[in-house]
Every structure is written in structure tokens, then in C-alpha cells.
């Protein structure tokens, strides 16, 4: 397979903090990749580096085989939709929709129009006056209709209601299958998008802590719930990723279980359940589930 993005030993320092800390990974061409992590983990900085908006302190970035910074040949094929995107003060939605096609050669005007209807976006309103959800839909529409060979969505649906979010997922999947391209999706709503993702990168404190296919990740862990003593017996000699206990009931997260393991667990009257991508990431990024932000 060819890599759309190839990053080697990438570091971005701001003063003494390392927003991105010696990171190496590749994103295969023609996949939807999730870039997940907590607030301030370094997701946006990483995407800014990949799209030439920021400059690396050290390390190497290849996007479609070339360095992206100030490289019109590469950037021509890249679209970065940022949650915090600022628009010129006096711009109306129509100014954005009119100018976007000048910069994205794959722009599909009909598709854009359909999306504007779907999201009920008022064209004549000033961008400044849009609600949070409407503002997000401006980005979503540009990201989809531009059909850039490499599209980044950074927290694209802040403030969008459930209907609009599902509209986005549906449109993205449908258009992605008709027009294959590489999509990097960064979000907090991990469970909502986990079916979309083919590959998952999890960044924490500037470092990549998970880099795997979504299928592998879904199969790698299991939660075992039952009487505390039985759970402890079962977990003994196995690697415990996470442990919780309420009264006499215990729950542990373990690595992949073999069929024999599962029979043993059933015999001990233990309940097994797969761990969702979101739970997995919550546990890996090291904070109790109760404290983790699950927005919208």
C-alpha cells in the first residue's frame, strides 16, 4: 500500500512543552483514519503540521511523498477543516461558498448545494452570526464538497445535533465510496464514528500511544465482570489493563481471550463483554471513565 502521509521523528515544541513529541507513523492512502485523543493531546498541532499551517521543530513530514510546508503542489490536494476556523468578520456564508471552488479543484457545486439544503444553512447570513452548529456545518460542507484527495476534519461537528451528525456520517461514507480518498477524522465522539474508521491513531501528551486498525482494536480487549473473588482468580496471571470495583462486584479489562479462556470464564459465572473503542481509549489515556469528557 502507498502512504498518503508518512511522518518520521516529528517534534513540535512551544517553549518547553512538546505539543508533538518525536512521533512516527503513516496513514495509508484511501482510508478513513481516526486521530483520537484528549483535549490538548496534540491533535490540532499535528494536523496543522501535516497541512503546512505550522512548522516542525524537527523531524520529517511527507504528504503524498513531498514536504507540505509552502508546497502548493501538495497543499492543492489537501483540505483542513478546523473546529476553531476563523472567517473574515464581514463574510457571509455565500462568500465562503463562492470562493471555496477557486481553491479546491475537485469541488462539486451540485453536491455543495445539496449539502447546504440538508444542513439548512442560510446563505445570506454573516458567518459571525451563525450558531455554533451552523458554523460547524459550513466546515463540513466545504470538507465534503471539496473532495480533496486528503481531507482533515478536526472536531468537525461541534454543536451539531444528532440528526446533522448522522447526516455528516452518511454523506461522508457515501461520497467516500464513490470518490475514494484519504480522510483523517479527529473527534471526541469516538463511539459514534468507530464504525467509520479503518485505522486509529491515539495521541496522548504529544505521543502516539495506539496505531492500529480499528478491527484489531475492537478484538483486543474484553471486560470481565462478576463477583470480586471470582474475577480476581480469573485475572490472576493475566495482564489487567483496567480494574474497577463496586462493593462485591469487580470488573477488569483484559487482553484478547481465547475460546478456552471464554469457557473458563463462563464456568466461573463471569460475564464477558467487548470493550468499545471509546472505553479502550479512555482507559489507555489514563483517566477514570467518570472524569472523561464525553461531549455532546
Amino acid at each position: 500500500m502507498t502512504a498518503a502521509i508518512e511522518v518520521t521523528d516529528l517534534t513540535r515544541r512551544f517553549g518547553s512543552t512538546r505539543a508533538v513529541d518525536n512521533v512516527s507513523f503513516r496513514i495509508e492512502d484511501g482510508t478513513i483514519c481516526g486521530l483520537l485523543g484528549r483535549n490538548g493531546a496534540g491533535k490540532t498541532t499535528l494536523m496543522q503540521l501535516l497541512t503546512g499551517q505550522d512548522f516542525a521543530t524537527s523531524g520529517d513530514i511527507r504528504v503524498f511523498g513531498e514536504t507540505p510546508a509552502e508546497n502548493a503542489r501538495v497543499l492543492q490536494n489537501v483540505c483542513f477543516i478546523k473546529e476553531s476556523q476563523k472567517y473574515p468578520d464581514d463574510f457571509r456564508v455565500k462568500h465562503v461558498m463562492k470562493s471555496a471552488p477557486w481553491f479546491f479543484q475537485n469541488w462539486d457545486a451540485d453536491f455543495a448545494e445539496t449539502l447546504i439544503d440538508d444542513f439548512r444553512l442560510p446563505l445570506d447570513r454573516k458567518v459571525k452570526k451563525l450558531s455554533r452548529g451552523q458554523l460547524s456545518s459550513v466546515g463540513v460542507i466545504i470538507g465534503l464538497a471539496s473532495r480533496a484527495p486528503l481531507t482533515f476534519f478536526d472536531e468537525p461537528y461541534l454543536g451539531l445535533d444528532a440528526v446533522a451528525r448522522h447526516l455528516f456520517y452518511d454523506r461522508l461514507l457515501a461520497d467516500y465510496s464513490l470518490h475514494p480518498r484519504t480522510v483523517v477524522l479527529s473527534t471526541h465522539l469516538i463511539d459514534e464514528v468507530s464504525n467509520l474508521l479503518e485505522h486509529v491513531l491515539v495521541i496522548d501528551n504529544g505521543r502516539i500511544i495506539i496505531d492500529d486498525t480499528a478491527d484489531n482494536l475492537r478484538g483486543t480487549t474484553t471486560t470481565v465482570v462478576g463477583k470480586a473473588s471470582a474475577v480476581d482468580d480469573f485475572a490472576h496471571n493475566r495482564t489487567v489493563l483496567h480494574r474497577e470495583r463496586i462493593g462485591g462486584i469487580s470488573s477488569v479489562t483484559l487482553g484478547a481471550l481465547s475460546p478456552a479462556d471464554k469457557r473458563e470464564a463462563a464456568a466461573a459465572d463471569l460475564e464477558l463483554s467487548p470493550v468499545s473503542l471509546q472505553q479502550l481509549i479512555v482507559q489507555k489515556t489514563g483517566s477514570p471513565a467518570s472524569e472523561t469528557e464525553i461531549s455532546a
Partner: protein, 256 residues
Amino acid sequence: MTSTTFSAAMKTAPGMRTRVVNVMRLHLVNRFQMILAPWMIMSFIFAVSLLIGLMFQPARASRPDRAADFTMEFNGAVLYFLIYMLVLAVMAINQVFPFAQSYSVTRRDFYVGTILTFLTLSITYSIVITVLGWIEDATNGWGLDVSVFNPGFLGPNLLERFSILVVMFLFFFMVGMATASVYVRWGAYGMYVFFGALALLILGLSWLTTATDSWIAVGNWMATMGLLGVVMWSLAPSGLAIITGYLILRRSTPRN
């Protein structure tokens, strides 16, 4: 990008000329703000000036020394226009630059497009003002001795007037652009340092002039240069602003 094939059809970038023209179109896409609004305000100032002219007409007509009366000859309309352009330049860097980054425009393409936009506006607006000033002269100040588009200090020569206007427009555009890029790159602290340094520079130059007792020499120099000469000298800071503006912006990152 040539040897490997990717799932999506890669687009080869259009030539730099197309990319730069697209940046210019982006600057001008909001016609109201860039073109209509300044001229609407200009028209309003013009209308008010005409009304004032009308108001004083009876009084002026009764005065025998009409020629010596130049109270209506100076008007700040053109200066207002220049300040508006400075504001446009600041917004172009402060607001359109981060937006253009989201359209994956390189800083270099953006900068060249921005300068060409301002150059185009400078020339177009200078032509319009010069032509209106010429009509103003020919009609004796719109029949009311009113000077709006030919403020007295610009002199009678049309070509000279046009040159002065273009160079002044450029000065305001470029200075606005360079100052705003300091802000985009270094934020509020950058502004403190920049204006602090500017104040010290002006103080230092004044001090030097006073200490060497050269104010009269400076005045004489300006008198010999004439307005055209002095204005032409502003090309030096304008050019400096273009170069430093680019050096600052080429490493700037749009803020979140």
C-alpha cells in the same frame, strides 16, 4: 507525486498566476466591504460638502475677494479614504490570511496576491479620484467652489496628482499590511514592542534633528523636494514594509 498513484485523482497545481489571481478574487469576493462601502462613505462626504458649499454660496458671492478665499479648498475626504485602505490592509492580514490558510494557500501565493490586490486598488482608486478632481476643476468646484477630490495641496498637474495618490495609497496599504503581520506573528506583545520601538525611533530622529539644529534644513529640504518629491520618498518605507511583511508572514501560523 508523479511516480506513485493514489486512490484519488491528484490534481496538478495550477500555475502560480492562477493561484495568485484566486487570492486576489478572495480578497475582493466581499464587494460591499472592499469596494462599495468606502465609495458610499466618500459619496456621503461629497454630498455633505456640496450642501456646505450651497449654504455658504450667498455669503461668498457677496465678497469681492473671492479668489483669496480658500476656506473650502481643503478637505479631508481623500485622507479618510487612505485611512480606510489602511484598515482594509490590516484586515486582509489579520482575517483573510488565516482563512486563506484553511483553503491550503501557501503564504507566498497569499502575499503576492495581497500586494497585487492592493496595487490594483491603488491604481484604480487613484484614477477615479484624479478624474473626479479634474471634473471638479473644470466645473469650478461643482459650481460651488467645493474641493473634495482635488484638495488644494495636490497641485494642478493631473499626472502629478495621480502619482501622489498612487504612492500614498501604496504607503497606507503596505504599512497596514506589515504592521498587521507583526500582530499575526507575535500577537499583542509584538504590537507593544513594535509601537514602542517606533516611538523611540521617531523620538531619536527628532532629538538628532534638534541637537544638530537642523529643523530649518529639514524644512528647506521638504520645500525643495515639493509634495511630489516628499511623497515619492515614502516609497522607501513602503518597499521596506513589503519585504519585512513577507519575512514576518512566511513563518506565521494562523491562531486558533
